[in-house]
């Protein structure tokens, strides 16, 4: 008989549209982070480090990279005879087939998967947060409180509280009230989107709420459980936790890794973060190179200068190039004498020689000022930038651009070039 005490369901189907061109072709959980990792590595590593060896990964938006990355789960030791990692895309059924319309709806459509493991508890995770957490400790807490639902929560500044689901608790951390993105928050304990449910409770709620359109944990399932006067508890988490849903928070979280002793430390022996890594040679730093306050991944060759940056694997930074305050992902080439400031450059990009990027005055983005707003230059994957062009701030570039795309060789601040059809 198959029996798992707790299995995890990892929501990885969202687009993460606020990451702009970075998620044009990949789901947010598959976006590179910290040089050699991808965002989903953090919850997956947390699972295996917590002893959760059965993980269903719900995919929907652009799943190719995610599928290739997860494979059969070898890097996380999640290739198991029973359990392990299973990728769960939406599927057609004889009655009404539909996409995953909401976070809870996605779980509802996979009741059979969960039932097949006969679990006592189900852990709901999202694939877009950077943190280390022992879910086993959270489960112990859940059991000790005899809870039906436990929500991981952490204190956030009051001014940011309205972006989150806010829980109000009594002195035993029992949740007395739950407000989803309140305009005038009465507390600052924010839900982290990590839930432990007693499976029978969640199962019943999902079936009851199955007709609700876009059924969502924060909007529907948690309020439903609350109304039913179930025992909901908040599990207060005080460690490092970062939502990397926007370009600026994504950039900041990467930059936090390069400080002298990072708060979020990848170099600790305890609680390793695993990832699918290619077998690559060490990095080569030439005698003309200069590197300060940066992290650099395997197989990269540096002939130029790198300051305050996070560099992925297999990158080449040619002679005379200067990279500052930037994130450069896997297999990207930076040409000779090119200067890059405050940029996020995705995978497999070729930046030509003598390019200046991230210079001039800051102007609001004409593409989408809500997304491209911290002065960052964002370049989508598989893009090309020709030799000798000058690029301003708050700029988005995607696709194979040529010199003719840059009027007088300049792309002013706030402008954009999106060449790959559906990329935005």
């Amino acid at each position: 008989m198959i029996k798992k005490e707790m299995i995890a369901m990892l929501l990885a189907g969202g687009q993460g549209s606020r990451l702009g061109v970075l998620t044009a072709k990949v789901a947010k959980p598959a976006v590179a982070f910290g040089g050699k990792y991808r965002i989903i590595d953090f919850p997956l590593s947390n699972c295996i480090n917590s002893g959760v060896d059965t993980v269903g990964v719900l995919t929907q938006y652009q799943p190719l990279r995610l599928n290739a990355h997860i494979g059969i789960g070898i890097p996380w030791d999640l290739d198991r005879n029973i359990g392990g990692v299973t990728v769960l895309p939406p599927y057609e059924r004889s009655g009404n087939s539909e996409w995953y319309t909401g976070t809870a709806n996605a779980i509802y459509q996979n009741l059979d998967y969960i039932d097949s493991y006969n679990p006592d508890y189900v852990l709901i995770l999202s694939g877009d947060h950077i943190y280390k957490m022992d879910y086993e400790v959270m489960l112990d807490y859940h059991k000790a409180n005899n809870a039906n639902v436990t929500i991981a929560a952490m204190s956030v500044p009051y001014e940011e509280a309205s972006r989150f689901g806010i829980v109000l608790t009594d002195e035993d951390n029992k949740i007395t009230e739950f407000e989803e993105k309140p305009e005038h928050p009465r507390g600052n304990l924010a839900s982290m989107g990590i839930y432990i449910f007693n499976w029978p409770v969640l199962r019943e709620a999902l079936i009851k709420m199955s007709d609700v359109s876009n059924c969502d944990f924060g909007k529907h399932i948690i309020p439903y459980c609350h109304e039913k006067k179930l025992r909901l508890f908040a599990y207060e988490f005080s460690g490092y936790w970062k939502d990397v849903g926007t370009l600026s928070s994504y950039w900041e979280a990467n930059m936090e890794l390069i400080s002298l002793i990072p708060v979020f430390n990848l170099y600790e022996e305890f609680w390793r973060i695993y990832t699918k890594s290619d077998i690559l040679p060490p990095q080569y730093i030439s005698d003309k190179a200069h590197i300060e306050r940066s992290i650099i991944s395997e197989g990269t060759e540096v002939y130029g200068e790198v300051y305050n940056s996070v560099i992925g694997a297999g990158v080449t930074i040619e002679e005379g190039a200067v990279v500052r305050d930037s994130i450069i992902m896997k297999n990207t080439d930076i040409g000779r004498n090119t200067r890059i400031e405050h940029a996020i450059i995705a995978e497999n990009v070729r930046v030509g020689n003598d390019v200046s990027m991230g210079f001039g005055d800051e102007r609001p983005s004409k593409l989408d000022a809500k997304i491209y707003n911290s002065g960052l230059v964002t370049v989508g994957e598989n893009s090309t930038i020709p030799n000798g062009v000058r690029i301003g701030k708050n700029v988005a570039i995607s696709g194979n651009t040529v010199a003719e795309d840059y009027m007088n060789g300049v792309l002013e601040s706030g402008e954009y070039i999106i060449k790959a059809g559906d990329a935005r």
Binding site: D287, I291, I295, S297, V310
Partner: protein, 373 residues
């Protein structure tokens, strides 16, 4: 592929000094993130040899750890796989391997149970890329009994640590000298052989019946005029590690763009065990010039013309010059290291100095308490 592979990884060598006290040479770290056996294993895998035996006995701990999973080289399939043979005491035999031929003899059932017609034998300490299919085609075309992969060394180079061969114009080996004092030829044997499986079984069994144990002395040398032994010239990079100097030089070769390009960028790839280590970190004060840096390193000082293996920590205000820092080394602040090989898992105290002078490479073995510092 119509061959199985045997990797002779049992060797120790006192010319490696302290470096081989705790590990077999096949497990010596190379080029930052590899071990020497990776090159042969990758060649076998890339030549589509599916069944490989690694024969080991001396200090096999780090080698066994490295081979704990065969998935990195894509073995571990239902057909074939990677087998590690260490000596085992049986009712008939209470001995360690007494030589290379004996090592094969003690595992002869591996040969007998296989069905592939050929065997590729290689040592585990060579750094090279080779498609064994090419050697096998040559072996068949020459109707050879044994083919020895050979390498020409430049005139005036010291070949006294190798086996030297003399070939006639059709590449048949007419003379073979093992580690000659004065070599009459600059063509050396790389320790890579192709032989028919049945012939190997026959030769090894004859050898054992006469209480002979060494593959080179008791088979190659003894049979050189009886059997058709041919040389296959290898014209690409080949280096082996058998002395501290050759180990140092082989590693330093990887600072050359041509060598890196050949091994790391050209097809096929070299595989190794992947450790889950974070990217290397360059803190304020770090100055790195012409060096290889592996994952998990944290650098606070100066590193020049050196190779940092995985998880090296270089303290503030240190200078590392022309040196090799092996895996998981901690170097305290204000330390000066030049012309050294720093042994893995070392903890070098702050404010110390280690310099190899007069062209000598100094081996630094410093086992200090790391967390009490």
């Amino acid at each position: 592929m119509r061959a199985i592979g045997i990797i002779l990884a049992g060797g120790n060598n006192n010319k490696m000094k302290e470096l081989s006290y705790k590990r077999a040479i096949a497990a010596m770290p190379i080029a930052g993130s590899y071990r020497s056996i990776d090159f042969t294993l990758s060649n076998m895998s890339n030549s589509h040899i599916q069944k490989v035996a690694v024969i080991t006995q001396y200090n096999a701990l780090s080698l066994n750890e490295h081979l704990s999973s065969s998935k990195w080289w894509d073995f571990g399939r239902k057909q074939g796989g990677l087998y590690v043979f260490t000596p085992s005491i049986t009712a008939q035999n209470g001995f360690w391997y007494q030589g290379t031929a004996d090592a094969i003899y003690q595992n002869i059932s591996f040969l007998k149970k296989s069905h592939e017609p050929y065997v590729v034998i290689s040592s585990g300490d060579g750094v090279y890329k080779l498609d064994y299919n090419k050697v096998l085609e040559y072996h068949i075309a020459k109707k050879a009994d044994i083919t020895v992969v050979c390498k020409d060394f430049p005139e005036n180079s010291d070949v006294s640590r190798f086996g030297c061969v003399k070939m006639n114009e059709e590449a048949r080996i007419i003379d073979f000298e093992e580690k000659p004092l004065v070599a009459s030829s600059r063509t050396i044997s790389t320790g890579i052989y192709v032989i028919r499986r049945r012939l190997l079984i026959e030769l090894i069994e004859n050898c054992a019946a006469e209480d002979r144990y060494d593959f080179v002395n008791d088979i190659l040398l003894r049979y050189k005029s009886v059997k058709r032994i041919y040389g296959y010239k290898l014209n690409s990079y080949w280096s082996n590690i058998s002395t501290v100097e050759s180990y140092f030089k082989t590693n330093m070769d990887f600072l050359k763009p041509s060598v890196r390009d050949y091994f790391f960028k050209q097809y096929p790839d070299v595989y190794s065990k992947v450790d889950d280590l974070p990217p290397a970190k360059y803190n304020p004060g770090s100055v790195v010039k012409n060096s290889l840096v592996s994952s998990g390193c944290i650098i606070n000082g100066t590193v020049e013309n050196s190779i940092l293996f995985k998880k090296a920590y270089i303290g503030n205000n240190c200078t590392i010059k022309n040196s090799i820092i092996l895996n998981n080394v901690y170097i305290g602040d204000n330390t000066y290291i030049e012309n050294c090989i720093v042994e893995s898992h070392d903890t070098v105290r702050a404010n110390s100095s280690h310099v190899g002078s007069n062209g000598e490479i100094k081996i630094v073995v410093e086992k200090n308490e790391r967390y009490g510092l």
